[in-house]
């Protein structure tokens, strides 16, 4: 029986360097099961590297990474939707189940259901070339969710899209997380997106990957478009923003 909560993560002394320069500098971090964690920071602060370490796509040079379970189901969403152009939308979404050996008559209905959830129920026979950027990203999200992952990692997934589409996708992600409990680690450049989506926002410093701010966002879920303009939201955004700017200013 799989955990319905999501994975817990414990990082101690994680150190990773490239060509002699540390990208992540002896980092300690705890992530609670089912938590929505947003990571923000300037370019080169190691946030993408951290995600890759969590996904076991990369190995830390030092330190330990404990996961609450040995055999975790991890899903990753990149900035590029990364769909296979020779497969239809539904076959793209069903791919992770296919790779696990799930037969067609099980995985196709699962894919159909997820596509409906992200509003693409009519597009399942289409091919990626026929979709807009936002639609492709929604397919990518559906694909990430199809195995009911314990850990969902997203690396600036909506950065290439316009603001309106971005807000829609933020809401899709939020509703998917609320209906499928899982731990989410979400890297973004957008402070308001981080505050909107996350339980907890972490600011990483440039060129060393140290945590300069670990901030809880106690706003209730689900958050709506109206939330973005509420006073508490703006207060939280201001705090995060000051910490972010302040640290950036000390570097400049």
């Amino acid at each position: 029986m799989k955990h319905r909560q999501g994975a817990g993560l414990k990082l101690r002394g994680i150190h990773r360097q490239f060509e002699g320069r540390p990208v992540i500098n002896h980092l300690d971090l705890d992530v609670a099961p089912g938590e929505f964690l947003a990571i923000i920071g300037p370019s080169g602060c190691g946030k993408s590297t951290l995600l890759r370490l969590l996904a076991h796509l990369d190995q830390a040079d030092q330190g330990t990474l404990d996961r609450s379970e040995a055999d975790l189901d991890v899903a990753f969403v990149f900035q590029d939707p990364c769909l296979m152009p020779w497969r239809s939308v539904i076959d793209n979404v069903a791919l992770p189940l296919e790779l696990q050996g799930v037969p067609r008559h099980h995985r196709i209905p699962a894919a159909e259901a997820l596509l409906k959830t992200v509003g693409l129920g009519d597009a399942q026979g289409k091919f990626p070339q026929q979709l807009s950027g936002g639609m492709k990203m929604r397919v990518s999200l559906a694909r990430a969710l199809i195995t009911r992952p314990d850990l969902l990692l997203l690396d600036e997934p909506f950065a290439a899209l316009d603001d309106i589409t971005r807000h829609h996708l933020d809401d899709h992600l939020q509703s998917l997380w609320l209906s499928h409990p899982m731990t989410v680690v979400f890297v973004t450049h957008s402070l308001s997106e981080a505050v909107y989506l996350a339980d907890r926002v972490i600011v990483l410093s440039a060129g060393g990957g140290n945590i300069t701010l670990d901030y809880k966002v106690p706003l209730p879920h689900p958050r709506t478009a109206a939330s973005r303009l509420s006073t508490p939201f703006i207060d939280h955004l201001r705090t995060v923003s000051e910490a972010f700017e302040g640290h950036s200013r000390t570097l400049a």
């Binding site: 076991h56 990753f76 990149f78 296979m84 790779l99 696990q100």
Partner: protein
């Protein structure tokens, strides 16, 4: 009123008419004898009169060339997949793939005769040797240039090596393979003709290579050019077939494309 550039066959037809017209006039004006420079009109006449034999010869060579190209496609793709599987294998065996490209076929053709005997066996082997290299090289490039993000996705999904090969690398490499096949199509014809110079069997009249040799011996320069023209047309036909395959892969199997005409 469709612009001239819009009609597909009109520009090449116009350039063909212009060039052959210029050649015809030059030869007449300079009073060049037929045994030095045959007039395009004489070549056309020779083509017409000897149409049956030339078509038979073209069919003879065409079968060998298409068989050779087919072998190159299958074996070339398999070799590329093998080379792509491991960097050590690649380093150890890729030089041999390059060997296919650099070996002068005229030199090893007699050996092909010893191994395959006279006739289609050796000719197909020659066609294969000459045409396999671009397929290996292009397919290998395609297999090695798989989208790294998709490779990461497969790793995270704990996909088996076989699944990664058949569900990701190979479908992604098909446009590259087809590019290699396009390049190889002309080479397959050349390889077959060169093979014929050494190993053709004359029972059914032989192929285009033999037709060229006979025309040279009989000092019929118009026939030489007619036979050469047939070989070009054969190359074009095979190229056109491969391009059709490319279009199909795009339209029905969505196997990607490269931007070219």
């Amino acid at each position: 009123m469709k612009p001239l550039s819009g009609v597909l066959w009109l520009p090449p037809l116009m350039s063909f008419v212009l060039i052959t017209g210029l050649i015809e006039c030059s030869i007449i004006l300079m009073d060049l004898p037929a045994y030095l420079a045959p007039r395009p009109s004489a070549v056309a006449l020779a083509l017409f009169i000897h149409a049956e034999e030339l078509l038979k010869a073209t069919r003879h060579t065409g079968i060998a060339a298409i068989t050779g190209l087919g072998m190159s496609a299958i074996l070339g793709a398999l070799l590329a997949i093998t080379l792509a599987s491991h960097p050590l294998i690649r380093r150890a065996f890729y030089p041999y793939a390059v060997f296919f490209q650099t070996v002068p076929i005229i030199a090893i053709a007699p050996m092909l005769v010893i191994w395959f005997g006279y006739g289609q066996g050796a000719v197909v082997a020659a066609s294969f040797i000459v045409s396999v290299s671009p397929i290996i090289a292009n397919t290998l490039t395609g297999l090695l240039s798989t989208d790294p993000a998709l490779l990461d996705l497969f790793r995270i999904a704990k996909a088996s090596r076989l699944d990664t090969l058949f569900k990701l690398r190979i479908p992604g490499a098909i446009p590259h393979f087809l590019t290699g096949l396009r390049i190889a199509s002309g080479l397959a014809v050349i390889g077959a003709i060169v093979g014929e110079f050494v190993a053709d069997s004359y029972e059914d009249g032989g192929g285009i290579g033999t037709a060229v040799e006979i025309a040279l011996k009989e000092q019929r320069t118009d026939l030489v050019f007619a036979a050469v023209l047939m070989s070009s047309l054969l190359g074009l036909l095979i190229f056109w077939l491969v391009s059709g395959l490319n279009q199909l892969s795009l339209k029905y199997w969505h196997l990607g494309e490269f931007k070219d005409s």
